[in-house]
Symmetry: C2
Subunit: 310 residues, 2 copies
């Protein structure tokens, strides 16, 4: 089909594409719902909220046959669990759709499922369904439900000027590290949300360079970035742009920052927490593209070794 | 990966494959859950149950570019809604994952989404999320949630020997008819379940020849088939095997059959309801393959024109 305007998905990118698709159905939103644009959809359900997330991995895009099949399965489910963690929610039930050519061996998929079940057990998730769909390429699509108490979920949109930005762990090098073996920050996300310490939160799947502007934009803020905790042997540019960190990025009202840091080191003494910058009202930063980090990159390379909160 | 036993998905088929995959996690089932094997997963949620369903359509398997894109979208969502109908549930929230090559036009997917929104509006479904995943082929994966009152859902497993089997509408010819333009039997499924008229129910997606043995097996029964309502110009074999009917198949305790038929004709006067056979305890029929219908096919062709309940 020739498009009237000739715009392809590559021209638009995922965020703009989904906004464009979904604006047609804007009238269908309901009060209290959090729809597209956050880590999970949020649906009021009595005193609770129901969290919904879908996520897919495709052979040749997110994995290939050189990756152990258990790792493919583990990663597929853990990506969705990481989004649940970023809301402070409890993941509960998963449905997995297997896309597969019919000549793929059953034992390959059994190994994939061993990885899925491993990740499910670790996070307390039940596999309640799924289906097999014939396809020319291997892929997995995961649908995950979860829950949280009303008022104990963290959205991307709650950040305000002056709020302090933090990330967990170290960023970058996901390709060189075992990027499939990450652990979703489930306990950490729940602790942050349940103790009302964060104003906005998301998980880092596309790299800080892409994800920090998203959080800031959702919160109607600009941001300044002063420090990035890089993985060992990883350049700052890689730490910003590699993606697949699955660490948490969140903002904290300044009056809660001391309580957060004290509580964190007691509760999670082995996981690095780094104050990376601040949200501000300077809205020029809002649409900062990756190249907008260039100035910061130069500064950082000159300074080296800014201090982490350790 | 060479499988130790060399079994491929084509050897196993979807049902056996999913059973094989999921038996690894059998210990993860929870009380009250209905997991894989029914039309939707069922999760207790207070006085309600949460229904979950995932379904995918893949280009070259379920649709091609000759199908209008709005029809692709409409069908993708309606397939999942049909499964919700088969449980007697109310569909509520959908998340849609778009798999697409990056050179596909944005306007193609906008047209697909017009179809999705059309089906969503007709069924009262809200689109609450989704994602875009790069892939070598176009596909849609739909995750749908729904709800029902506890005790007002229809499973596949409640049929008992002597229960009467019915189907809605006429079967077969989905390829020649507009198979993408079907209407999920939502009001009908809800009415049947809420009035406790059915002991077991499912929707016909793979054809009566594949789906009736599934319902019977889930109910621990055999079955006899006496009549099939064929679409105009469609042979009995096509009516049994074409698939994609998206009509309801259900069993009814004999003492409720008269009440069902009277109530049905009042409530849904324009939708054919046909008594097609009976569940029985003769378990030899349980694993009846498609060829098991051969005897019936011959009989039927000799008789022609058995009476429908009209």
């Amino acid at each position: 089909m020739a498009p009237p305007d000739g715009v392809t998905l590559a021209d638009l990118g995922e965020d703009a594409f989904l906004r464009r698709l979904l604006r047609q159905g804007a009238a269908q939103g309901k009060r209290g719902f959090v729809g597209p644009g956050d880590d999970c959809a949020v649906i009021p359900y009595g005193q609770q909220v129901l969290l919904l997330k879908t996520d897919a991995v495709v052979e040749g895009v997110h994995f290939d046959k050189s990756l152990p099949p258990t790792a493919v399965g583990r990663k597929a489910l853990n990506r969705a669990i990481s989004d649940m963690a970023a809301m402070g929610g409890r993941p509960e039930n998963a449905l997995v759709t297997v896309f597969s050519p019919s000549d793929t061996s059953a034992s390959y998929w059994e190994a994939v499922y061993r990885g899925i079940f491993r990740a499910a057990r670790a996070a307390g998730v039940s596999l309640v369904g799924g289906e097999l769909s014939s396809a020319p390429v291997c892929a997995l699509s995961v649908a995950l439900t979860g829950s949280a108490r009303r008022g104990e979920i963290a959205l991307r949109s709650g950040g305000r000027p002056g709020h302090v930005l933090y990330v967990t762990g170290r960023l970058g090098g996901s390709i060189r590290r075992k990027h499939w073996a990450f652990t979703p920050r489930l306990a950490e996300g729940q602790w942050l949300a349940q103790n009302h310490l964060v104003s906005a939160m998301m998980d880092l799947s596309d790299g800080l360079a892409a994800d920090l502007p998203r959080l800031a934009r959702s919160s109607g803020c600009g941001f300044s970035l002063n420090h990035v905790p890089c993985s060992r042997g990883i350049s700052l540019r890689e730490a910003l742009c590699d993606g697949e960190d699955y660490e948490l990025l969140f903002s904290v009202p300044p009056r809660l920052a001391a309580r957060l840091e004290t509580g964190w080191h007691k509760k999670f003494p082995r996981l690095l927490l780094t104050r990376i910058g601040t949200l501000h009202s300077h809205r020029k930063g809002r649409e900062m593209p990756v190249s907008g980090f260039d100035h910061f990159l130069k500064q950082e390379q000159e300074q080296e070794g800014a201090q982490a909160v350790e």
